[in-house]
Subunit: 630 residues, 2 copies
């Protein structure tokens, strides 16, 4: 049972996905997310692939239907991403409809593919003579990359190689055209780089890795092509191994980083790896929302400036959250450093999980941290979820990552199993000394108790490494305070016997968090966090969200709610707060600094951000002013 990202034996990769993995999610949020993926989200997405014309485009290209091309130039990628979603999903439970979708669509793609291996229904139906002439915007490599990822997922999940054959022919065609291409020959939307490395891993064909490496190296010389947003937007302003900071279009930048890390580990290029890691560090320090969301501007879908982190206007695209997790995961494998798992978990449980409604039907493309009562007044990113979009990148990004999510729970070294994400599951794999199996029992992220029971172990010492997130102030191991190592882990090296278990208790005390003083948009406000979950205040719980101010000294009481209507299981945090009102001076919303304000006691309650907007379209805020006069 293999997941995404399988470094080769030779790769510079201290951590590896578990070998000979068998993993069963046995409940919890991961279980819910997989269920809703299977029962609702994936079937609905397949309906939209029909409805939007994305499948019809391929049928027309295959000569089995007729009609004009519909949708954006990259409509094929929606199909490919749903193929990948279906493939990963089938690892968790058989589903004849998904198997049929995979099989039939693989055949359709094989028929649509041109004799020379080219496959892109947009150009085939609209402008066949112009293929590869508008790469700055055409998404031809981007679509190819998503096909490669789908093909690799299908092979790893079902063993079926029909899609891999199509992918291989397309990749061979790309190599024929672009390996020794004059000029950069680069897609304006990076993605194919990471996909080519995975295809190399799945097939052993080295020229795929070579092409990926060349594409990473060729970028950054201002030659990708003119674009209204400029070379930075297309990551073409500085060579990848030189650029000091992430910039430009967020999803493009993050996919390129994933590809750079993949190339670096497979070619042993430590300089390239260090450059990517340095940009990651800077990005986390200066451009990351507390939810893990990335991308402050809707215009251009770009990062924005250093410390530009507006809660209301932030874009925080759903695809960016998924891409950030993919980059962080590759850096975790490449370095073994715990901080990458910290951001991955923060992004997963907040920015990423919030994108989809609890019922699995609708999605946000942008994930702001604040919504005002009058949000319908303003034009811009729609401040509500939808089932599908003309540019439908985000829903399939959610389904494919949710379907492969359990693979992000653990890594191994030769003699250690590292648990990074806690969810009820049974995990078996092989270490150097022999097979092991562990059972994880937990109600995480609702509660901090995690019990890990060894069910099978070789007759040798090995290490069970348990990740301790940095927010866990007082962590207990078997009831005794424990201090994690510098990488944020408790390392339990023992000669484990089947049946032995350990109990980890993470500190789930709610906490208020302030923003760095450079973040102008959050000054004087605090966010409420508990465990890995950022909470938010919704109009459904208090009509006066926009007048609320929190008291830093008030008790924060935690209440389990087994079934909140619209949401299901949740944890509410309740506190005594105030509302603050002030008059307008000279008719303007500006005052003398000492002007009096009216404070009134007001109860306040917060639910996890990832569960927001399942109870009406009212106001919401993650960041709430701190009461200045307690």
């Amino acid at each position: 049972m293999e997941g995404p990202v399988r470094p080769t034996h030779a790769a510079l990769s201290p951590h590896r996905p578990p070998r000979n993995l068998r993993l069963a999610v046995t409940g919890g949020l991961f279980g819910q997310w997989l269920d809703v993926n299977r029962t609702t989200s994936i079937p609905l997405a397949l309906h939209h692939l029909e409805d939007s014309g994305a499948l019809a485009n391929l049928r027309t290209a295959a000569g089995v239907a007729s009609g004009a091309f519909r949708g954006p130039a990259y409509a094929d990628s929606d199909v490919h991403k749903m193929l990948e979603s279906a493939a990963w999903q089938l690892q968790h439970s058989p589903d004849p409809a998904l198997t049929a979708f995979l099989t039939e669509t693989a055949r359709l793609l094989a028929r649509a593919q041109q004799p020379d291996g080219y496959l892109d229904s947009h150009y085939q139906l609209t402008d066949p003579a112009d293929r590869y002439t508008r790469l700055v915007d055409s998404h031809e490599h981007y679509c190819a990359g998503h096909l490669f990822q789908a093909a690799v997922a299908a092979q790893r999940s079902t063993g079926d190689e029909e899609l891999l054959t199509v992918a291989g022919r397309l990749a061979d065609h790309l190599c024929a055209v672009f390996l020794d291409h004059e000029g950069p020959g680069l897609d304006g939307h990076p993605q194919v780089e990471t996909a080519l490395v995975e295809l190399y891993r799945a097939t052993g064909v080295e020229r795929y890795l070579t092409l990926a490496a060349r594409m990473v190296e060729r970028r950054g010389h201002g030659l990708v092509g003119p674009h209204k947003h400029g070379a930075r937007h297309r990551l073409d302003h500085l060579p990848v191994r030189e650029a000091p900071a992430v910039t430009g279009h967020v999803v493009r930048a993050l996919y390129l980083e994933a590809g750079a890390v993949d190339v670096a580990v497979e070619t042993g290029d430590k300089e390239l790896l260090a450059a990517s890691a340095a940009r990651w560090t800077d990005m986390v320090a200066t451009r990351t929302a507390i939810t893990g969301g990335l991308g402050s501007r809707q215009v251009g879908e770009v990062f924005g400036e250093r410390y530009e982190l507006p809660p209301d206007l932030a874009y925080n695209e759903t695809c960016a959250s998924a891409a950030s997790m993919q980059w962080a995961w590759r850096l975790l494998l490449a370095t073994g450093e715990g901080r990458y798992a910290d951001l991955l978990e923060r992004t997963l449980y907040n920015a990423f999980a919030a994108a989809r409604s609890v019922d699995g039907r609708t999605y946000y493309k942008g994930n702001p941290l604040q919504r005002r009562p009058d949000h319908a007044e303003a034009v811009g990113d729609p401040r509500c979820r939808d089932e599908w979009f003309w540019s439908a990148c985000c829903p399939p990004s959610v389904t494919r990552l949710m379907a492969s999510l359990p693979h992000y729970a653990a890594t191994t070294t030769d003699d250690a199993l590292f648990l990074h994400l806690y969810t009820p599951m049974r995990l078996a794999c092989d270490l150097g000394a022999g097979p092991i199996a562990v059972r994880v029992e937990t109600e995480y992220p609702w509660r901090g108790a995690v019990r890990v029971t060894v069910e099978e172990a070789p007759d040798a010492e090995w290490t069970l490494a348990l990740r301790v997130p940095p927010w866990s102030g007082r962590t207990l191991l078997d009831g005794v305070p424990v201090t994690p190592d510098a990488q944020g882990r408790v390392l339990l090296r023992r000669h484990w016997r089947a049946g032995e278990s350990v109990a980890l208790d993470l500190d789930m005390t709610p906490r208020l968090t302030a923003a760095h003083p450079r973040i102008d948009a959050l000054r004087g406000s605090v966010a409420l966090e508990r465990g890995p979950l950022v909470h938010c205040f919704e109009q459904a719980d208090q009509p006066y969200v926009d007048e609320l101010a929190l008291d830093a000294d008030a008790d924060l009481s935690v209440r389990d709610v087994p079934d909140l209507p619209g949401i299901g299981r949740t944890v509410r945090i309740e506190t005594e707060a105030v509302t603050v009102a002030a008059p307008h001076q000279d008719g303007l919303p500006y005052l003398s600094p000492g002007a009096p304000r009216t404070r009134r006691p007001a109860p306040a309650a917060a639910v996890p951000y990832f569960q927001w907007d399942n109870r009406g379209d009212g106001a919401m805020r993650v960041w709430v002013p701190l009461d200045e006069h307690p």
Copy 2:
């Protein structure tokens, strides 16, 4: 010497522009702005009318040249706005080039006009059969309106009625088509309403007023046409007399308000006037930047939500500042209330004046209140000025308002002269009792002293009314503290003799201003104001703009600078401040609320916002954090 907005005798308009006005600006900022308009801005704009193809389009439509249409659909309006600019400018000094431009272009327009009166080079050159079929986006009425305003300006300034003849034929054509039009027949961009009323005032043709009134009434029923941003964006969601708040596209909304007030005063429609005034009050209270700037979102160029006033991301379009001054001026005439002059002055000296560089060559379209050191990283509104734009609405909005600016200085009633804006000038006009003349001597806005000398007066009592802005804490009249009336005026009713004078001293003590607690983006920060001028901190004066925090108790010392390189005369405000630094916690820009910060003393200096960005493209901020631990 007549300016814009001349209510008819019958109009509901307690205040009027001075009758038989003769006005000479004798220095000061108004004098500088008029000079730079004449010597630099207008000639440069005329060059760009050639360069952009805007004049060539009209020549082709007139059959005296050939070529394809160039520029946006509304390129004609750039020409019309420069005709208006030239006309007003000629009131202040003769200029053969401007006279020639007016004369030649009037003839060109007459030749381009079709036999039925239609005149719009875009449709004439591209799609003559489709005129008026795409009004939601075509700008045909909008362009017509700007022609009407230009024609009225030419008549009032030079007496030449050639342009007025063209305008009248076009207006007659509009009346023929639209007076009894089935369906609303409305332009997606309001503007023609206010222009039709002015044309009615200049010509006495009542059907122009009738058409304007019908256009105001027909809007708001969702029938203007489908638009991707929806009916609100086109002000078509609610009837104008019912809508409770401004919304949608800012410039569209403000032009429509100007038209609504014009219609209301000329038809005696108090309900319509009250509806517009109520929206103005709400707009000022909830959607107005401290600079007077309007429009928080670049996407859609819309107002944004209530209290959504980000300093960095705000759009605050230059045209919106001009349109806001036009609306406020109409409300001032229609009500006599001083608050309209307060906002007009705030907008003039800050959001509006900042749009143009000191040298008169370049313009901002968007006028944010903050620029970060790394602003070139991000995509969006360009954070620097330019000479011209593909959509070139803003530069001619500046030149035409600057050229007519002296007209906004004063209003009259039958027996009173109200001075609203203080600038060195000589103003003569007729009151009911006879001719008066006053001389204003002042260095305002650099200093608060204003001396008004009566140079000519009838043998009767009349009132000299001096506006006292609300920020003037301690105002002196002839050295004695004086309290203005509820409308913010000192009313001096006397039997004035020639040679008598009064000295008004406005309080120019620098002051810190905080934001209303509902403005999330400005929490914990203060702005520095002095008199009508909002100040800002620029990188040219301190390299550490983004680390700065102000001490609420520190002295604010005022320093006159006669000639700051790049800026000229200015006033710097200097204070002892600090820089604040903080570490990143767990690599993220979020901290425990009590996490230590490093504070270091740092001198700080601020210049007026309207003079920003004339000394390099570094960081700037109007709102600066208040030091939390003084």
